[in-house]
């Protein structure tokens, strides 16, 4: 089933009572089913998300994919399935990353013009979409750098009131090379017209020297280095839990310790890697479910 919303904000915001009434009437009767939601953003780009309607008594979960991935990517895709099977309503959006109707992971080499702000706006859109659907408990679950950093920044900038909790799986900073970041900043400062739209080969996340991006795009992500993330975590107002795999080799050294130092609850799944492959996806689901069962604990 595919549903297209041309002007969601206006339609839902103008008739919230009608929507709520409609949802109240319809949801209990709806069977558990998935649907792809497409929405055309004001920028003209159409985005999509996979939505699974759960029990109304349970919180809705927004699952945000990792760096340059889609909602089909693991472990978020499995986790969405597991949570759906437990009766949670799940919404798995694919960040457009500046691509109309993006449905595929984006190569490092593709021209990246998207920015953290655009990512947060799309997250906000989907949170609002759920809120508009009547969900009062919305949990944001992110994966790795892109999904978690977007949630962390989104929460820091003032989250939707329905946000009950944030569960961060394998959070990480996508930034590595401070000199490069500085160089790009300088280029932008000195010749903004030249480099604003000129793709450059940079390093970001796992894209080493091949992240083809405009300076603005690069800097929007690169500004959130480890310290910035840890700082945002320490200061977050949203109840947050963090889950790591003990065998995660992608994370920087001492990163888990630094995270733990923020006093945010950190769960370590033994022997699980960054992506919680294999049987660890179920342990991950159990851990998430556990976190969801205690929404407001911090």
């Amino acid at each position: 089933m595919k549903m297209t919303i041309n002007n969601p904000s206006g339609y839902l915001i103008n008739r919230p009572s009608a929507l709520a009434a409609l949802l109240c009437l319809v949801l209990p009767a709806l069977p558990a089913s998935a649907e792809t939601i497409e929405a055309k953003l004001p920028s003209g780009i159409t985005v999509s998300a996979n939505f699974h309607t759960g029990r109304p008594s349970q919180p809705a979960v927004v699952l945000l994919h990792g760096f340059l991935q889609t909602h089909h990517s693991q472990p978020m895709n499995s986790l969405a399935g597991n949570l759906s099977s437990k009766g949670f309503s799940t919404l798995s959006p694919t960040l457009s990353l500046g691509i109309n109707l993006r449905n595929q992971s984006m190569p490092c080499e593709a021209v990246h013009t998207h920015t953290m702000a655009q990512d947060i706006a799309e997250l906000d859109y989907w949170v609002n979409w759920l809120g508009n659907k009547g969900y009062r408990d919305i949990v944001l679950i992110g994966f790795s750098s892109m999904g978690n950093n977007g949630i962390i920044v989104y929460n820091a900038q003032g989250a939707h009131p329905a946000i009950s909790k944030a569960i961060l799986i394998s959070p990480n900073s996508s930034y590595h090379d401070k000199a490069e970041r500085q160089k790009v900043r300088s280029m932008m400062e000195t010749q903004p017209n030249t480099y604003a739209k000129k793709p450059m080969q940079l390093s970001l996340g796992y894209c080493r020297k091949n992240f083809t991006a405009t300076a603005g795009s690069y800097l929007s992500y690169a500004q959130y280095d480890e310290n910035k993330i840890l700082e945002l975590l320490r200061n977050t107002a949203v109840p947050t839990e963090i889950i790591f795999g003990s065998a995660d080799t992608i994370l920087p050294a001492n990163w888990v310790a630094h995270v733990k130092a923020t006093n945010i609850k950190v769960s370590i799944i033994d022997k699980a890697n960054h992506f919680f492959d294999g049987s660890h996806e179920f342990e991950l689901a159990e851990e998430v479910e556990a976190a969801l069962s205690n929404l407001h604990a911090k």
């Binding site: 500046g98 593709a110 083809t212």
Partner: protein, 757 residues
Amino acid sequence: MTRISQKLKNLWPFTIKFYAISFIILMSLIFGLLGWGMQYKLDTIRNEALESNNQAAAAEIGYVISHITDAVRVRAQAIAGQDETHQQLFDPVYYYYWRDNRILGNGALPHFLPAVELYNQQGNALAERTTGDMPKLLSRQDLGNFVTRQGGHDFLYLFYPVSAVHGNTSPIRGYIGFKLDLLEALRNEQRFNYVDIDSLEIKLKENERVPLDQILPHLEFSLVPNTENMALTASIERFQRQILFSMLVLYFLFYLMLSSVLSAPLRRLSLHIDALRKGQGGLLSQSYTRSLPVAELEKMRTSLNDYQSKLEEMHLNLSEKNDELWQLAHHDPLTGIYNRRGFEEDWKHMLSVSAGHRLGVALLLFDCDHFKAINDTYGHPTGDQVIQAITQTLQNTLRHGDRLYRIGGDEFATLFLDIDAVLALHTAERCIEAVSQYDFTLLGIKEPVRISAGMAYATGIDVEMLTSLPKQADVAMYHAKRPGKSKIAVYDPSMSDNASILFSSKINSIIFSLMEGADLIEMHYQPIANLGSGKVDYYEALLRVHDGDNLIMPSTIFPIIEERRIEAEFDVIILGQIARDIESGKIPEGTGISFNVSGPGLIDPVVLEKIKGLAIHLRRYKLIIEVTETALITQLHLASSILNQLRQQGFLIALDDFGSGYSSLSYLANMPVDCVKFDISLIRQLFEGSRQSVIIENLAAMVIKAGYTLVAEGVETEDILKKIAQMGFTSGQGFLFGRPDKACREAATVAFFDHIG
């Protein structure tokens, strides 16, 4: 065709070599046909393979092109399905980056794809500067894949739709187009098995466009040499050459084998058999001993040798029989000397050897005098002994190496080669002398046995003379045997005048006409005068035979009659004529007639009957039967008996030609004769004055004294008349009294009788 058939018939039966060559030619034709068929089949297979390879090559090119287009299509689909591609259609801000770096520069396309462009729904290129002169605006025609020639290169343009979502029914958002150098793309494919890719050309004019699915007819290419086919063809051709060489060698060996094993032995056998067949005087001294390599031929050879040995054995027997037969055919069984056949062969051989050479050749003929009389008197066994004795005597007398032939009952011959006439004559004389010296009384023969010889001589140069020798010798013999002649006579041409009559076919014809009853004879009568009165005492009837206007004398006729042994038949004819003459009154009464009767006639019943038939005339005529000594001696006892009977009837018997033969007095005493006629030779000898005249006179006196009447022949002169009258002869006969004439004339008047008168 007919000529060929005729030639083949002339050649029939064919030789083994012919069959061998025919077989080889036939086999060559068969193998030639097989080879041609194989070559034809090979060419067919090669052509089929070429056609198949051409088809395979076309299919291969088609496959490679489809492979290229498939690869491009897959890439196009992959690109068309990428979010990035759609993003270009959505927002082509970074189109060049995407095209140059994400597609062309990223190794996303095969190397043969140098140009790619995206077009929007309207067919407008997203780029202002298209790669590789890709069109900036697509027409509907461009959307079909096509090949076109630009700047000497053949480019393939491929365009695929880019749909919004994966799936055929999704709306088209735009198009992705590729341009590639088709030949280069094909050449970069390393999968050609049939097409020689370096030879591939696309026959298009500049800017000519051909839809991709119609490009195959515009392709020209060569085939990759099919190494397997080439190797197979080379192998087959090598095999054919080897077969050909092998066949030639086999043919040669077959020919050699056939020649050596069959043809040569058969030819040798054939030559051997030919030699046997031709013979040339006898069988080959050696049989065919070399063994033959073929069992059947070897069997034939051994059979042939066996046959040959048997043939040789038969030949030997036959030769012995032949020799025996030759001996029998060429030798006289009684004497063991050569016979007439042997003489004739040797005569021919002599002619062939001597003709044309200066060699003297003498032919001697011997004849036993009065042999028939001896034979009849003493019997054939004694006669045979006489012949054997004569043979033995002659052989002993002849030179060593001289051949003696018995060519008749009592006739012998011998040939002297390279001899002069005198020596031949002396040899003949020695022979006659030797026989005369032989003591025939040992055989119980009282009378002397003599032989006469006739000799003819010639040299080889005179071939005509040489071939006439037998006739000449015969003539000479005839002369030698004539009464009163020497016992040996050498041929002289003058003899032929008389002797020729003997061999005259005309005389023979007349004699046979007489025998058939022709009235050709007449009797001439010569007076026999009484020496006391000078008057005719009686006439001697002498035979004359008409030959047209001529008369043939008895001396001409009688040798033939004697030779033919028809004396008795002729006596009958003469007696018949005499009887007719008497009956016709031709003979004066009171006279008489004497007539000759031959020896055989004397004992012949028909002749006797004729003589007795004359007895009715005895009352008017004196009839005197004249017989010779030889006639009497021949059948002495029988003749004597018959003559006695005739004497008793009144006939008188006269012994004719006394003195020309044996003139044996003992015989005379026993002969029943009334008178004796002295031969003219005796009368003539009276005047030779030697002892002979004395003996003759005494002989006459003795005969007279014995009681016989004497008649002298050859009274031609009065001197002779006087002499015989003085000697006591009773009668005389001769020209003095008259020649024989068909009329009985009186005796001529002779002065001698005047004083008597």
